[in-house]
């Protein structure tokens, strides 16, 4: 029986294992040094905030693995013998495999800041990071102030977490406005205000110069590059993005760049070795996507895809329309298709932007300036239907038709106030159009 070894029990590895089991009775071993069982990394923040206990982040009950004949192995792989197909563990033991999948995810970026390895300085990615956070920032007595470096999705989550325990937070963001490399200006500005409304000390256009140690090797303060200001703190969160977690492959002959280089079949340069999820790097980017996609959904999709190949149906990784979501403290965000911020916006991409008066809801629709083709939507504070936008993107609707039928895409809970009328009014004003709202049910659009 063919033995599939998967290094990493995150969403990619686990999805792969589940799907291989669906289609075959191959022997599967899931290897992790991080945790006994699969848990949802994205939910670690809720454990710290007291919304959940760690066990609630585990999507499957503990008996699931045995019942589905998926072997779990706790250990850290420090050497891969690709010639003999053997994995060597730090703990001294070894196992052999027939096919190997690398799904080891990411680790927080460190850019060589002085003091970045001090105690109380860390990212927020792994279960161990959460445990360390409980040591260095359990409450506002032990941690009188925290500094977060890097204005991305993890940064704002960490700010929300610390805020929930009444720990004062200083949030250093390199960009002139929060996450404006990705988000259009209006949205980014709204988030700046939202962050400040939560009494988080947001410092835009601000870089970290160095982290200062006390006499016990623990962080004492940080110094800001631009002003030289010293901010005393007991905890520093490094959240300036993530990078593939593949340093254990350095000695191997598996070809890597930032991540493990793979082709569209998710195969590495070595036969029978694959890479999926955050740690995989496409040799050529797919469409507008980045070569490395450190996103929950893409990890899952790569797992779904690779299972086909491993089970005898060679399948290219061919993701559909881009989508993603996040939550910025109280404001939910969803995106379908492509809406560019400052970075990489094609010259033909034009935006329509609407913002609610309460400053917690807005949308931006990207469309082609000549053809008016709908390219994508960012929605803040209003939930929208994935299925509908996926269809509209596939069928290349124009922005006018999309707006006309926007109500069909609404996914807010029942009785919520609808904003489509307002949105259309703004669009008509902006573009001198005369669109009228259609109340057609979304299912009718599919008929």
């Amino acid at each position: 029986m063919e033995h599939i070894a998967i290094i990493g029990n995150g969403i990619s590895g686990v999805t792969l294992a589940r799907h291989i089991r669906k289609f075959s009775d191959k022997k599967i071993t899931l290897i992790s040094a991080e945790s006994d069982y699969f848990f949802s990394r994205t939910a670690l923040m809720y454990v710290y905030m007291g919304h959940m206990k760690f066990e609630h982040t585990q999507p499957y009950e503990n008996w699931f693995w045995k019942k589905n004949n998926i072997e779990l192995k706790k250990g850290f792989v420090n050497e891969i013998d690709t010639d003999n197909k053997v994995l060597h563990f730090e703990e001294g033991d070894q196992i052999s495999y027939d096919k190997l999948v690398i799904a080891t995810g990411s680790k927080p970026n460190k850019f060589g800041w002085p003091g970045e390895n001090l105690k109380g300085v860390q990212g927020l990615y792994s279960k161990q990071d959460l445990e360390h956070l409980e040591i260095y920032a359990p409450n506002n007595k032990v941690c009188k102030r925290a500094v977060i470096v890097g204005g991305g999705l993890i940064g704002i989550e960490l700010a929300e977490m610390l805020n929930s325990r009444n720990i004062p937070v200083t949030f250093l963001v390199r960009e002139s406005s929060f996450w404006n490399s990705v988000l259009p200006e209006g949205e980014s500005q709204m988030l700046n205000r939202h962050i400040k409304n939560h009494h988080i000390d947001l410092r835009l256009s601000t870089n970290l110069k160095e982290i200062i140690s006390d006499d016990k090797g623990k962080v004492k303060s940080i110094i800001i590059e631009e002003t030289g200001e010293e901010i005393p703190c007991d905890f520093v969160g490094l959240t300036a993005g993530v990078t593939p977690n593949i340093s254990f492959l350095e000695e191997s002959n598996i070809e890597t760049n930032k991540g493990v280089l793979v082709n569209r079949f998710l195969e590495t340069n070595i036969n029978d070795i694959y890479a999926i999820g955050d740690c995989a790097e496409q040799r050529e980017a797919i469409g507008n996507r980045r070569p490395i996609e450190a996103v929950w959904y893409t990890g899952r999709m790569m797992g779904e895809t690779l299972a086909q190949t491993i089970c005898g149906n060679p399948t290219e990784y061919k993701p559909g329309h881009w989508f993603n979501s996040a939550k910025f403290i109280d404001i939910e965000y969803q995106t379908y298709g492509w809406v560019h911020g400052k970075k990489g916006r094609p010259e033909y991409e034009t935006h329509f932007h609407w913002k609610h008066d309460d400053d917690t809801k807005c949308i931006t629709i990207a469309y082609h300036k000549d053809t008016k083709e709908f390219l994508g939507i960012n929605t803040f504070g209003i939930r929208m239907r994935h299925e509908v936008f996926d269809k509209w993107l596939t069928e290349k609707w124009t922005i006018d038709t999309v707006l006309k039928h926007l109500q069909a895409a609404n996914f807010d809970p029942e009785f919520y106030k609808l904003h489509e009328k307002d949105i259309i009014k703004k669009y008509n004003q902006d573009t001198n159009s005369n669109i009228k709202l259609s109340k057609k049910h979304w299912r009718k659009l599919f008929a």
Binding site: K53, T305, E316, D330, E332
Partner: protein, 540 residues
């Protein structure tokens, strides 16, 4: 703000302590005439009972309710023992005529009920003499304190949004000692209410004036319970309004359960009683209203003229037509989390404990066995009862009608629905009864699972498996298990509270009524992936 909260908590606890402590107050003694009146009112023929009562209760001494209760129960025991001996004696003598005569002297009423009825007349002392003051010291302080504790959250919780911060850090909401203390308090409360109402007779005095205004009679322990139920729901609804102030579905739903509790469950039956009609809760549907088809109720209704007949017809139509029809259009939520009284308490008082329902597969299996068994038993009980009602028989298919009614009332009606159902909130979650015990929920669930337009729609591929939905599902549904497969949630137990959708950080869940086509849609590959791959795998 925090200070106000703590002051509120202190006031609330003081009110609670005075309320609980008030049962120890007062003197209970009777006059000969009072005893005689009661004896003749009840048609009790035992002289021994009356003599024993007079001996101990007609006194100048200070007797508290516990001594009073024990004296009554002792008198009852003495009397019943005496006649038992007589029966045994005549039995031995084979004097059948005399033996038969003795049975009329035996008293079958429950000891604590007799004691309660006597105590209601016998009480005097501080509580009875200071009703208004006592109301303010108990209910008043409780309400004011609780509101002072709750209202500052408008500011303390920060901008509107889901704020479940610290739920698993606090003793009260994380099964700590406070939670256990609350459990013990609630269980004791229900035990007293159901089985030892005489001990809490002082509470009824506090509400006598309100009861008199509403229905023209003094308050019973059930009036106290009904009033307390409404008060608790109102106060805890304020908490819901603040906690979910960004979520209109939650606000509408809370308003609805509050309305149905206060108007339908409390006011209308009381007012009907004052008009000499049978007090009836028009929203309470069989088989949750398990005694609707009991002989005494049918008799009562058929003897109450047009209104009685109307209730009989309405109750039947409600269960057979209205309930399933509404479930078809809106799911069982229209009843369980918008109308029902049990649901109403669970969604207000119980909301802080919703995370404690067990999500394991094991408990789901257990749930299905138990809840459907209760449904089956309630139906069998009703068939037996109706058969016996129409034929005059005492039993049917080998089941004694009185026995099954008494057992059901005791085990399901009192223990399961009350003592366990509400008493266990702080440890086992707020829907223990609704999930494992309620026969109406089981019935609605069957309709919802197999013939309804209701579902919780999963939003394509957006789930990140975080587990907030499952954690906060009060019915113990592993919502995430469906959401992460891109599959709609169609489960018989779902009461449609909408909290999974509220706590979802990615906008994945939406409760909605829609065409039954494509309602159940298991997926292996989620939206967002290669369309060909989706077609290949999902259409297998």
């Amino acid at each position: 703000m925090k200070l106000i909260k703590y002051i509120g908590l202190a006031i609330f606890l003081l009110g609670l302590a005075l309320f609980s402590g008030s049962i120890f107050l007062g003197n209970f003694s009777m006059t000969d005439i009072q005893v005689d009146d009661y004896i003749s009112e009840q048609g009790i023929k035992s002289d021994i009972f009356s003599k024993e009562l007079k001996k101990t209760l007609v006194t100048e001494e200070q007797i508290n309710i516990f001594e009073f209760s024990s004296a009554v129960r002792k008198a009852l025991e003495t009397s019943n023992n005496y006649y038992d001996k007589q029966i045994a004696k005549y039995n031995a003598e084979k004097n059948w005529a005399k033996k038969g005569e003795q049975y009329q002297y035996k008293i079958h009423e429950k000891p604590h009920t007799i004691s309660y009825n006597l105590a209601k007349k016998a009480g005097s002392g501080f509580v009875k003499e200071n009703i208004a003051l006592m109301w303010w010291l108990t209910f008043g302080l409780g309400i004011i304190g609780a509101l002072l504790y709750i209202l500052p959250n408008v500011l303390l919780l920060g901008p509107p949004g889901i704020k479940n911060n610290g739920i698993y850090h606090k003793s009260a909401t994380n099964r700590g000692w406070i939670a256990w203390l609350v459990l013990v308090y609630l269980v004791v409360f229900y035990l007293l209410l159901y089985f030892m109402p005489d001990y809490v007779v002082n509470w009824t005095y506090i509400l006598d004036p309100i009861s008199n205004t509403l229905n023209g009679g003094d308050a019973s322990q059930w009036f106290v319970y009904g009033f307390l139920y409404c008060v608790i729901m109102v106060v805890m609804a304020v908490r819901m309004y603040i906690k979910y102030r960004h979520n209109k579905y939650q606000i509408m739903r809370t308003t609805s359960v509050l309305f149905f509790q206060i108007v339908f469950a409390f006011l209308i039956p009381e007012i009907m009683a004052s008009l000499n009609m049978p007090g009836y809760d028009f929203k309470s549907a069989f088989p949750l209203d398990y005694d609707f088809f009991f002989e005494w109720n049918i008799k009562n209704l058929t003897e109450s003229g047009a209104i009685g007949l109307f209730i009989l017809v309405w109750g039947t139509i409600l269960t057979i037509i209205i309930v399933p029809l509404m479930v078809y259009f809106f799911g069982k939520r229209w009843y369980c989390s918008w109308v029902c009284g049990c649901g109403g308490l669970a969604e207000t008082l119980g909301d802080p404990y919703r995370q404690h329902s067990d999500k394991s597969l094991k408990s789901w299996k257990l749930e299905r066995w138990i809840v459907h068994s209760v449904l089956l038993i309630s139906i069998v009980m009703t068939i037996v009862t109706l058969y016996c009602y129409f034929t005059g028989a005492k039993s049917f298919i080998g089941i004694n009608s009185q026995w099954i009614k008494d057992s059901y009332s005791f085990l399901i009606g009192a223990w399961f629905a009350g003592v366990i159902g509400t008493g266990f909130y702080p440890i086992f979650g707020n829907r223990v009864w609704c999930r494992f015990g309620c026969p109406l929920a089981a019935y609605l669930g069957l309709v919802q699972r197999f013939k309804s337009r209701f579902r919780i729609t999963t939003n394509g591929g957006q789930c990140i498996s975080c587990g907030n939905c499952s954690t906060y599902c009060e019915m113990g549904i592993d919502v995430r298990a469906y959401a992460q497969k891109g599959e709609n949630i169609v489960r018989s137990s779902c009461v449609g509270c909408g909290v999974c959708s509220a706590v979802c950080p990615r906008g994945v869940l939406k409760l909605e009524n829609d065409s039954t086509k494509g309602r159940i849609n298991p997926n292996d590959i989620l939206l967002g992936n290669d369309v060909n791959l989706m077609d290949l795998v999902n259409q297998k």
